[in-house]
């Protein structure tokens, strides 16, 4: 794995149209980004499409990357994850009703979740998530890692969608206060 500083250099080169740098950037980051979107999409074909679109966007918008705001991998993962969420939200609403087993399938296909390095930022965020009630911790983490909609979360927690809505909002505002945002 390249260091964040090396990735910043690569992105700067990509912004200038350096194809070799783009190839190295892809090689260094593809598995992480694919892991992130596959968790959410649960389908290899969709995940591959999303990852393709994400890297095209990364190629086109590398000039907008600001290393003062985010680490390279966080910036790239945000692009990929946003695309994945857009895809599940657009198809999600129907498929949950059409396939009552979709939830079970999603929950049962295991994904590796490995602990890699933990940065200060991650520890800080987890500390704030840890101050939420246990159910809300789970809610926030399931929403983030699995990209679940409010409806899916409501089914999981056996609670009305509006309650989930309220919990999510309060949780995010609690995290905001804890982070001092």
């Amino acid at each position: 794995m390249l260091t964040p500083a090396e990735l910043v250099w690569l992105i700067a080169a990509v912004a200038k149209g350096d194809e070799a740098a783009f190839e190295r950037l892809y090689a260094a980051t593809r598995a992480k980004l694919f892991g992130v979107v596959l968790r959410i999409l649960r389908r290899q074909d969709l995940a591959e499409e999303v990852i393709q679109e994400a890297y095209v966007k990364i190629w086109n918008s590398a000039g907008q990357f600001n290393p003062a705001l985010a680490s390279p991998i966080t910036w790239m993962a945000s692009i990929a994850r946003n695309r994945a969420i857009d895809v599940v939200r657009k198809k999600g609403e129907i498929s949950i009703e059409e396939e009552p087993t979709a939830m079970e399938v999603a929950a049962d296909s295991p994904d590796p979740l490995a602990r890699r390095e933990m940065t200060e930022e991650l520890k800080r965020l987890l500390e704030c998530v840890g101050r939420l009630e246990p159910d809300r911790q789970k809610l926030v983490l399931l929403a983030y890692y699995n990209g679940w909609s409010r409806e899916q979360l409501a089914a999981k927690f056996e609670t009305p969608v509006n309650t989930v809505k309220t919990w999510l909002r309060r949780s995010m505002m609690d995290i905001r206060e804890c982070l001092g945002l």
């Binding site: 794995m1 194809e19 783009f22 190839e23 090689a27 260094a28 598995a31 992480k32 694919f34 892991g35 992130v36 968790r39 290899q44 591959e48 095209v56 190629w59 705001l69 985010a70 991998i73 966080t74 993962a77 969420i85 939200r89 657009k90 609403e93 929950a107 049962d108 295991p110 994904d111 590796p112 979740l113 490995a114 602990r115 890699r116 390095e117 933990m118 200060e120 930022e121 991650l122 965020l125 987890l126 500390e127 840890g130 246990p134 911790q137 789970k138 926030v140 983490l141 399931l142 929403a143 890692y145 990209g147 999510l168 909002r169 995010m172 505002m173 995290i175 905001r176 206060e177 945002l181």
Partner: protein
């Protein structure tokens, strides 16, 4: 950031978390297109939450993915992607197997207080040695949450030794009195577009002041012509001109102040091509080329 209501901030946070529905996501994206400060708030949330991805395992995509990316960005060369030494990669086949988890003992976690690459390699190695296959039968989704929660427990500051405990932060708490300032006014946005294509202009209206702003995102009018914005309402006998737009990237005007809120909200906004400087007689002289209606992006001082 002061200028944004809690509703805006909650919307940005939930966008980053991913729990908004498709319509709400589209709304946020529209708002981001017109408001750089709001975009900054969304990005701040995305990057704050994005660190959670550090705990997601890597999975190799198939080589065809790179071929497709190369084709899409128009790369010339046909070499295979350079192979770099990577953290342990899990082939897609592993999706069928039990989750591989790497919880680390507390002592190890406490030492991970840097993002220094060399040191993190050491930690990864020691983590790898301790890795075990989780044969528990609970769903991986929950496993993911539990592992993160385990880490949360570890980072509960009250569990840390004194020296490592973070210093209490002083927080200023805003005390709300009955004499609250007026709640933030609703913001309305219309994308003026042709047949659902990409917008040529983005119109925003502040419900309280009725000021409107038009941002040009499409091309210029042809030489000798001007774009003119019109308000079309069934409450009015004919289209009313809101003036020539598109000469600069932004146009801001208070022209709407003479219309009531119902008219403003339900009207169609249309752009015509007129002679340079705009219609001489206050009537449109072409069929509208871009049209749109307002949608409410953030409700006024909405209840939680």
């Amino acid at each position: 950031m002061m200028a944004f209501s809690e509703d805006h901030i909650a919307l940005a946070a939930e966008y980053a978390l991913g729990t908004l529905d498709a319509d709400e996501r589209a709304q946020v994206e529209t708002m981001m297109a017109v408001d750089a400060e709001f975009t900054a708030i969304v990005h701040a949330w995305e990057y704050r939450l994005g660190v959670l991805n550090q705990m997601v395992g890597s999975i190799e995509p198939r080589p065809i993915v790179w071929e497709n990316i190369k084709a899409a960005v128009g790369h010339s060369g046909a070499q295979a992607p350079m192979e770099l030494p990577e953290t342990p990669q899990v082939p897609p086949a592993v999706v069928e197997q039990a989750p591989v988890v790497e919880p680390a003992p507390v002592a190890d976690n406490l030492n991970v207080i840097q993002s220094n690459a060399a040191q993190s390699n050491v930690i990864q190695l020691s983590g790898r040695v301790r890795r075990w296959r989780n044969v528990a039968s609970f769903a991986s989704a929950i496993a993911a949450a539990l592992i993160a929660m385990l880490a949360v427990q570890v980072y509960r500051p009250d569990l840390l030794p004194d020296g490592l405990r973070p210093k209490p932060r002083i927080q200023t708490v805003e005390v709300k009195t009955p004499a609250l300032p007026a709640p933030p006014s609703a913001q309305y946005v219309a994308l003026l577009q042709q047949n659902g294509g990409s917008p040529a202009f983005i119109l925003t209206v502040d419900a309280a002041t009725k000021n409107f702003t038009v941002r040009k995102v499409g091309g210029d009018a042809e030489p000798g012509k001007s774009f003119e914005l019109w308000l079309i309402s069934d409450k009015l006998p004919q289209p009313r001109s809101l003036g020539v737009i598109g000469g600069a990237e932004f146009t801001a005007r208070p022209v709407l102040s003479s219309y009531d809120a119902g008219t403003i909200n339900s009207a169609t906004y249309a752009v015509t091509v007129e002679q340079a400087g705009g219609s001489p007689d206050g009537k449109p002289h072409s069929t509208p080329i871009y049209t749109g209606k307002l949608i409410e992006t953030v409700p006024a001082g909405a209840a939680r």
